[in-house]
Amino acid sequence: MTQALISQILIGVSVTAILVISAIGLAVIFGVAGVINMAHGQFIMVGAYTAAVIGKMGGNTFVAIPVSFVVVALLGLAVERGVIRWIYDRPLETLLATWGVGIILEVVMKLIFGPELYYVGAPKVLAGSVHLVGRLPYPYYRLFLIVVAILMVAATFYLIFRTDFGLKVRAVRRNRAMSGCLGIDTAKIDMMIFMFGSGLAGIAGAVLAPIKSVSTTMGFRYAVDSYMTIVLGGVGNLWGVPTGGGLIGEGETLLAYKFNSVIGELLVFIFIVIAIRVFPRGIFGYQERR
């Protein structure tokens, strides 16, 4: 294999990391509550702006991560209590309502921060790059993203599979009615999971902010990528997000290298549409009829 190809594959790994980071919050919410938050992109954006503010106040990305988590988690709480809690049984309506929330968030953020782009720098510790393959540099920040992605998945895994709260979440996911009968406050579980997922989106924003500039419209692209990752990978299992992210990330990177990025996206999209014929609920989705 040529060096260029290996280099592309490695870039694909970091693209996968970005997809995983963006999608994991959404996957958790969708997997448990069955709702898709169309404002997910805007949640990421708010996390990024939080990081920008932290940056202006002298902090760096490491400080921004927990702060963004909390800020967006609280935002998620507000949205869940105000809007989503009334329409859990109507997932299609949730799409529309959260789309509205997204619009409002964009407008509000634009009113607060203005239309200019913000630049958030990576922490000095992570500046520079390493030479993984020959003379082609691989930025430390990309490695950092991969680490963050792994940590986020691990943390989610720990929460869902090693805590009491996670046990309740799994019970609700398996059999909502029965869990309710057994005394689990399913409404509260939904709320907390939504907060957690939103918080993850906040972290995504904080961590993705240094990649490009921060603007009020930056989130939409990440959101659509997250949706596609979930559709392909499935939400029945935590492996769905890395798998979906990996296939899309590597696929788009390599195809973009061969043709161009738009063709890459188109081909990956077609691949996804065909793949879900075999896996209607994603590769790791719950089994559906027939």
């Binding site: 309502a97 559709v231 188109l266 559906e288």
Partner: protein, 396 residues
């Protein structure tokens, strides 16, 4: 059978047709006639004030677009966030054709007889595959057939595997976004960000009347479709596709059918739009426009056919009125509108009115109830309907 029962069954038969209602109720006819008169007559009376004329034509295209969304979403329960794909493809075919023809008569500064945006992007001549678009009738045919074929393929791929609901919504969203990006990327062929502009358009009263005729035709088609049995089948698929499937309906085929009809309508709307407005861009193919269509239908009232018209008119009208004010304010309002319509008024305006009317009207329901009470009274005293024993009796 007692006399009451005889009376009952006879009157029922005559009520049966009342249950279905007439194809075009009088009020609908009158309302439609009024709207047609206003739209068709206004420019004649008020003179061709270009801007209002432009808006009227645009409104018709938007209304058809929203109508097509009502068919698949309101009646059949398919939420597609990418209907603008079909609108956009229809629009681009027609716009390209008109632009190409315009360029033939109006050479560029360098004497080239092909679209200026192609020249700016370094093309030396009209691409071969675009040459057939010189024929506008051919372009119109493409504008109608290609999106419908695309919808058919999409339908077969997704609906045959029972992919619907949230998954379908998200996939159509991505589809719309990708088309948008495609158009921007291949700007040599599509005009990219600027879109296709500066070509002769059909803005004028005759074309307005043509669009009005097309709108009426589509409305009637939608009405006939949804009023007939197939309309009830579509609604049953929307309400409980599991039950429908186990009741013998090939749910996938019905979905594909209505999806293609909807795409055809969207494409026609797009084609007319391109001819009417004279400008087309990637914005007309993307997720934002798709979702706009959905919200018009939601505000107006799903599964009502008139709702989409009302919704498009109200929302677009409001946007026009408020466009002078802070644009941000309007956006905020739009966002709140989404939330409001979903939480507070899921039936939309027309739907809520219909609900209210049904509750307050003494109709078939009340009359039948009264007759059923009569029946119950008879039964208590000695008469028994066939087959079902009274409670307490032991059945063999």
């Amino acid at each position: 059978m007692s006399a009451a029962a005889e009376r009952l069954s006879r009157s029922r038969r005559s009520r049966a047709t009342l249950q279905r209602g007439r194809l075009v109720p009088l009020w609908m006819l009158l309302l439609g006639a009024a709207v047609v008169a206003v739209i068709g007559g206004f420019p004649v009376v008020a003179g061709t004030d270009s801007y209002i004329l432009l808006l009227l034509g645009k409104f018709l295209c938007y209304a058809i677009f929203a109508l097509s969304i009502d068919l698949i979403w309101g009646f059949t329960g398919i939420l597609s966030l990418g209907q603008a794909v079909y609108f956009g493809i229809g629009a681009y075919f027609v716009a390209l054709s008109l632009k190409i023809n315009y360029a033939l008569d109006h050479p560029t500064r360098y004497g080239n007889k092909f679209p200026d945006f192609m020249e700016w992007n370094g093309l030396k001549a009209l691409p071969h595959f675009m040459e057939p678009l010189v024929s506008t009738p051919f372009a119109v045919a493409c504008a109608l057939i290609v999106p419908t074929a695309l919808a058919f393929i999409f339908g077969v791929i997704t609906f045959k595997r029972h992919i619907y609901g949230v998954y379908c919504a998200v996939i159509t969203l991505a589809e719309s976004l990708i088309l948008q990006e495609f158009i921007i990327e291949y700007q040599a062929y599509t005009g990219g960000f600027n879109g296709i502009t500066d070509y002769s358009n059909y803005l004028g009263i005759p074309f307005l009347w043509f669009m009005l005729a097309v709108t009426i035709a589509f409305f009637l088609i939608a009405r006939v479709l949804t009023h007939s049995r197939i309309g009830t089948v579509l609604k049953s698929i929307r309400d409980n596709d599991l039950r429908a499937q186990f009741m013998g309906y090939n749910v996938a085929n019905y979905r594909i059918f209505v999806f293609c009809v909807s795409a055809f309508m969207s494409a026609a709307a797009g084609a007319m739009y391109a001819a009417w407005v004279g400008i087309i861009s990637y914005l007309d193919t993307g997720p934002v426009f798709s979702v706009e269509g959905v919200i018009w239908t939601a505000v107006g009232g799903r599964a009502t056919l008139i709702g989409p018209f009302l919704g498009a008119f109200l929302v677009k009208g409001l946007e026009f009125l408020l466009s002078g004010v802070l644009a941000a304010f309007w956006q905020l309002l739009v966002g709140l509108l989404f939330i409001f319509v979903v939480l507070v008024m899921p039936d939309g305006i027309v739907g809520s009115i219909a609900h209210w009317l049904r509750r307050h009207r003494k109709g078939t329901l009340t009359q039948l109830r009264e007759e059923q009470d009569l029946l119950a009274h008879d039964r208590e005293h000695d008469w028994q309907p066939a087959g079902v024993p009274r409670s307490g009796e032991e059945s063999v």
